[in-house]
């Protein structure tokens, strides 16, 4: 087991190497002038553009550029983000808590609801409940996330006069949270509110979470439901189900104990990708609801050509994906006794 993890982590570095090449390839699509402008914090410095290009080796041969770039990367210097007005790495940790909060509430919902609906759908195949869930799933899957979020806002914030508002906290709560009385442990609003025993802030944060979480969940849980359904259908057609029935097990036992355990295996993989891919959905959701998280930052960076921030987006997601894959594979080996780690 240990050797396997070590080997996978080494592979992680290989993939990261590949990703860094990709990111660097994107970077080199920009002209040296554009890339130099990243280092400028003041308009007067425009005169020194050539000097900057020289110092940072921006017109040197590609492999030398790559070397310096990786060197800076390993030092933790990913550049300066103009949209965040701080170094990229710091900006990453600044915006991370809000995104984690969103993911924390969405991911479990997506997985649990998807699994449950998929299971029910498969067991009652071709009956009304199956058709209904499948139709809803397809509609959910076809929804443009940004449109759905905006519609929800229109109804629940506009029509219902501020019932479920955008942003992370109301103004009042925000002021309190930034004051000295409130201790920031994790910078995640809900958790901090709990740790500070301030339940009104907790409720406020939750109220602001409802719409974004619904937006994210509806679209993604359609996928999980579909995978679970087909996986369950396949499991229900296998020989061991007949054996279980022939043993005299009740239908509920057969479904829960025998079929579901087998059906969950592919779902684990999909859930892993889902969590890694949540970052993509988060860009739109955070933008619409003005939650200042990673996605919001990256969206603004793309519009304002904040190159270091965009590259950070690519890098971050790649690392997230590879780590998630490793965790998923380990989980897989744990759940399915047929799988041996090689």
């Amino acid at each position: 087991m240990k050797t396997y993890i070590i080997r996978r982590l080494l592979l992680l570095f290989v993939v990261l190497f590949g990703v860094s090449i990709l990111v660097f390839a994107i970077l080199s699509l920009f002209s040296p002038e554009q890339r130099a402008s990243v280092f400028i914090t003041d308009v007067k410095q425009l005169r020194d553009l050539q000097e900057i290009i020289q110092t940072h080796h921006l017109d040197a041969p590609i492999h030398i550029q790559y070397y310096y770039w990786v060197k800076a990367l390993l030092r933790g210097d990913l550049g300066w983000s103009i949209t965040a007005q701080r170094p990229v790495l710091k900006a990453l940790f600044y915006f991370l808590p809000n995104t984690i909060e969103l993911a924390l509430f969405s991911a479990p919902l997506i997985i649990v609801i998807g699994i449950w609906l998929g299971s029910v759908s498969a067991v009652h195949q071709n009956r009304l409940i199956d058709h209904t869930t499948r139709t809803l799933a397809i509609i959910g899957w076809s929804l443009p996330t940004f449109w759905f979020g905006l519609m929800l806002l229109m109804i629940f914030y506009g029509y219902f006069r501020g019932l479920l508002p955008p942003e992370a906290l109301s103004t009042k709560a925000n002021l309190y949270v930034q004051s000295a009385e409130f201790v920031r442990y994790t910078r995640i609003n809900t958790i901090d509110a709990l740790l500070n025993w301030k339940f009104w802030i907790l409720l406020d944060a939750l109220r602001h979470l409802v719409l974004p979480v619904i937006t994210l969940t509806v679209v993604q849980c359609a996928l999980v439901m579909r995978i679970m359904r087909s996986s369950m259908l396949e499991a229900l057609g296998r020989g061991y189900i007949t054996t279980a029935r022939a043993k005299g097990a009740s239908e509920a036992t057969v479904v829960k104990r025998h079929a579901r355990r087998n059906a969950l295996i592919p779902v684990v993989t999909v859930s892993g990708w889902l969590i890694a891919g949540l970052a993509g959905g988060v860009v739109i959701t955070e933008t619409i609801f003005s939650r200042k998280g990673l996605g919001w930052w990256w969206a603004r960076a793309a519009v304002q050509l904040d190159i270091p921030a965009i590259l950070c987006a690519v890098l971050f997601n790649a690392i997230l994906f590879v780590v998630t894959n490793l965790v998923v594979d380990l989980l897989y080996a744990y759940i399915d006794p047929r799988v041996t780690l090689k």
Partner: protein, 397 residues
């Protein structure tokens, strides 16, 4: 020997896109107590469907249309055996019957076992489903022993609590209170003792089946076992509750010959030990000759002949049986193998009357008109063929 189970006029259909498959068209036969009955026929003639119909395991698009499956169930309270028609009973009762009174073992053992559960889990499941009272008894004995050891107050109060739970379970296994207790996270562990008890029983059972090192084997998963071992585990699952009838659906067809011999020996031995009746389904006439006392020959959803194995092999009456026996290669025989001319019929639009008539060398006009009934020609020999019906008619008049 008295009849254990009697199948009367069983009809099963499958509703598919291409049409209705008339898989079983009025099956009649019976299984006697303590006998090994062979059910012989080609692939696709309806043997497995018969087995599944007996246990009411036919699922959509299949449907058991008509008929009776009469089981003489040993009533717990009284000594007498009264017959019940399985096709009329509730699903709940059927669940009590399956794996308990009537068990089934399957052809493909690796498919029949659940890959994510260990051998222990799967064999114990049979005990946990049907032998709860006996397991509770064993647990209570264990608890008594523990109590006598003289422990701390805390330990003793836990033991007493466990004892009351198990006493309740022994009296009323499906009590609501127990269901709630199973739900609660920590309290749930009371089941541990029963599971361990079931595990002990499983190990005993595997040892009886001749599996070496059963304590090791129970920890394994199905994919770690050989084909023969897997089949033994399947047999163990089926025999856990000492069923009165064991249905063996081609259990050795997928195994190589040496393992096959071992499994057949095992099954025979079980009949001796447990006095189980066995319905042995196979397409292999050699196995029938070796194992069975009586045999039922099936063709395309019909029973064509029923006879004791000796007379069946010495003097087959139905043209189909004769064709089957002629097709068996004999050592030293240099002639070309004789096959039955024609093909197995499509069961969506089967031949009218006797379903074998298109391939029969002795076909008469009335064969295509009406299906011949299964008539007793000699003592306990039944044939569904007009050739022999004419003879009985002649004998009668």
């Amino acid at each position: 020997m008295p009849k254990l189970i009697e199948i009367k006029d069983l009809k099963t259909n499958f509703y598919t896109y291409e049409g209705i498959v008339h898989a079983l068209d009025g099956i009649n036969f019976s299984i006697r107590e303590g006998e090994i009955l062979g059910l012989v026929g080609e692939t696709g003639c309806g043997k497995s469907v018969t087995a599944l119909s007996i246990l009411r395991l036919i699922r959509p698009p299949g449907k058991i249309e008509a008929g009776e499956v009469v089981l003489r169930l040993q009533d717990e309270s009284s000594e007498s055996k009264h017959p019940i028609n399985l096709l009329d009973q509730t699903e709940l009762l059927m669940q009590k019957v399956r794996g308990n009174e009537i068990s089934m073992i399957f052809q493909e053992a690796s498919e029949a076992l659940n890959p994510v559960y260990s051998v222990n889990d799967q064999v114990s499941e049979s005990f946990l489903l049907h032998r709860q009272k006996e397991l509770c008894q064993g647990v209570l004995k264990e608890i008594e022993q523990d109590l006598r050891k003289g422990n701390s107050f805390f330990r003793r109060s836990i033991l007493n609590m466990e004892r009351s739970i198990y006493l309740r379970m022994r009296g009323n296994p499906s009590s609501f209170l127990l269901a709630i207790l199973t739900f609660l996270p920590i309290v749930r562990s009371y089941k541990r003792r029963m599971v361990n008890q079931a595990r002990t029983e499983s190990i005993k059972l595997l040892r009886m089946l001749g599996i070496p090192h059963p304590e090791e084997v129970v920890r394994r998963y199905p994919h770690e076992l050989s084909g023969g071992m897997q089949q033994r585990v399947v047999i163990a699952m089926a025999l856990a509750c000492s069923p009165t009838l064991l249905i063996a659906d081609e259990p050795t067809s997928n195994l190589d010959v040496t393992i096959q011999a071992q499994i057949l020996d095992l099954v025979r031995g079980l009949r001796e030990k447990l006095k189980t009746s066995i319905l042995f389904i196979t397409h292999d006439l050699g196995v029938v000759a070796e194992m069975c006392e009586r045999a039922v020959v099936m063709y395309a959803g019909h029973i064509v002949e029923v006879a004791p194995v000796d007379s069946l092999f010495r003097k087959p009456l139905h043209p189909y049986t004769q064709g089957l026996l002629e097709a068996v290669p004999r050592p030293g025989c240099k002639e070309r193998l004789r096959s039955i001319k024609g093909n197995v019929p499509n069961l969506i639009s089967p031949p009218s009357g006797c379903r074998f008539h298109p391939r029969c060398s002795f076909v008469m006009t009335k064969c295509s008109k009406r299906k011949p009934a299964l008539k007793e020609i000699e003592k306990s020999r039944f044939v569904a063929c007009y050739i022999h019906h004419q003879e009985t008619e002649k004998n009668d008049t």
